[in-house]
């Protein structure tokens, strides 16, 4: 394969008082979707924060191309309407604002009528839809996505997965943390399984099955056996 769009070698990462993650080495290549899996408290979100450089304690190296981040909890700028988030996004990309394209996507995700409202007042699912659109419209080299399915309705999940597929075809890499293992098994090219702040297994579905000693098992069963 060619040069990774994300390459991380995290020796230690955590907060002031303790290390949460240790010895995490991962790569994401163009067009690849890597699932970051693990039970609650395994260190997935801390790993993502390390990649973003927003962790108070960090030792290691990160090489990352232009990225977009979809946080677990949608984050908006207080005092801006949803539409203003989009206009701001395109100003940072130094591209002219594609009004029709944005309008069509907002329609598709059921957000058009509320485009001039404050997104903080939206339901969790609608906030998440807006966040996904903001990230996907950036068309970066790599996506870092933290629990994207939380609060999304099935239709929005399907549309989101289609858009991710399109981005992969374009050549974007994706690192996605999730607990929805059935979906992860269907869409991810590789998996990184974490527990207690460390990687306990990684690789393709076949490699995960071998590591878990369950040659025919689903990702769900492998996850259960390994964690």
């Amino acid at each position: 394969m060619n040069v990774p769009v994300l390459q991380a070698d995290i020796h230690k990462g955590g907060y002031q008082e303790s290390d949460v993650v240790q010895d995490i080495a991962l790569e994401v290549y163009p067009g690849e979707l890597v699932g970051l899996l693990g039970p609650n408290g395994a260190g997935k979100s801390t790993t993502i924060k390390s990649l973003l450089g927003i962790l108070p304690k960090f030792e290691g190296s990160i090489e990352i191309k232009d990225y977009a981040y979809i946080p677990e909890r949608p984050i908006y700028y207080e005092g801006w309407t949803l539409y203003e988030h989009f206009t701001f996004l395109f100003s940072t990309l130094e591209e002219s604002f594609p009004e029709e394209k944005v309008g069509a996507l907002l329609h598709e995700f059921g957000l058009y009528d509320m485009r001039h409202h404050y997104p903080e007042r939206f339901s969790k699912g609608m906030q998440q839809k807006g966040m996904i659109l903001l990230s996907l419209l950036r068309r970066p080299d790599v996506y870092i996505i933290d629990e994207p399915f939380m609060g999304l309705d099935p239709k929005a999940v399907k549309r989101f997965l289609t858009m991710v597929k399109e981005e992969q075809k374009r050549g974007a890499g994706v690192l996605m943390s999730t607990h929805v293992l059935d979906t992860a098994e269907k869409i991810c090219d590789r998996f990184i399984l974490m527990a207690e702040g460390k990687i306990i297994a990684s690789g393709t579905m076949e490699e995960i099955r071998r590591a878990s000693g369950l040659p025919e098992a689903s990702l769900f069963d492998c996850f259960d056996a390994l964690t």
Binding site: P71, I75, G79, T87, F88, Y118
Partner: protein, 373 residues
Amino acid sequence: MKGKKLFVERWKEEKRYQKEVMSGVVDLVTFLYIIGPLLFIIPYIYIELWRMPSLYWSENLPITLLLLLLAAAGGGSFRFYVKEADKLFLLQLNGVIAEMKRHGGLVTFGFIMLKSFLLTVAALPILYNFYGYSIGDAGLIVGWLSFYGWLVAMAKLTVTGKWRLKFVHAFLILLFMGNVQFFMEPGIFLVEGAVVLVVIWLFFKHSILRTGNLDVEIEEERRARQRYLGLIFQASMETETPVGPGGKRPFFYRKSGRMFTSEASSSYLLEGLFKAFLRRKEWVGYFQILGLSMLGVLLLPLWAKFLVLLTGLLFLHSWLRYIFEQLLTSLFFFVVTFRKEDESLVWKKFRNTLFGIAALLLCLEIGVLILGV
């Protein structure tokens, strides 16, 4: 646990909470210099109000004003002491919640009556000396004010929509004022009282003793619990009290319109910060600083005018820098990052605009005052 016992436990917990909040505000110095003297002064003022009422009120003032003041100080909220966690633990034990709320309702009734009694006693010297009400009339006024308070408390739990509630509240104020001015008859009082009690009894039976309205009751409980806490925070100099944008849609630039025509990325960032400045009501602080400085310039002697101009502008400059940094401190900028090189340019424009307006106004004021002299 039975509903009554649970109510008593919650009531005690509430008192402990209020005590903690009060002890955080009233320290020895506050007590010695403010609360203590007030405890002495209030009875003295009340006696004075009976002896020389014209010192405190004028016969030219309409009774409507006094009744409006009474209505503003009256009212109330039902306190049922319900909590979010009750949905998990008590929802299936409907009898316990209902019993707890019944006690809460009764205590609220009593509390509103007591409050109405104290307010009427406080207003009695004016009602007696200026508007010809007798001491005996005070009983009816306590009753009207209590009815008003109960109905306001009920409306807060039953009327949906901010404006509809305001409308109902205004109607209840008019009803109270009309009653006191035109219907001071025991017969009318008894009939109206009976109607109010039936309405409240129906409200209890069909709403309060059921769980269908629990979310509204929890929200109202939270609001009632934090009402005075919010006031304390607003009055405190050391506590940061950010004001978020209100409503679903912005008041300024309702349709997300552009402020500037420039397509440069720095223009969009500057525009975003100005919009946030307007919508998060940061401008209130700006006009407070500017207004105080202008007042100082207006009132103080010439040499002090320049001192106020200098210190006011210096303070405004550091305040603007602080607000600018606050506006840029958002996790959203990890999702959509802006060009770091834009920051200094945007700061200059942000500062120059707001600082420039203030400096211009203050200098103009000084100029006009000097020329006027």
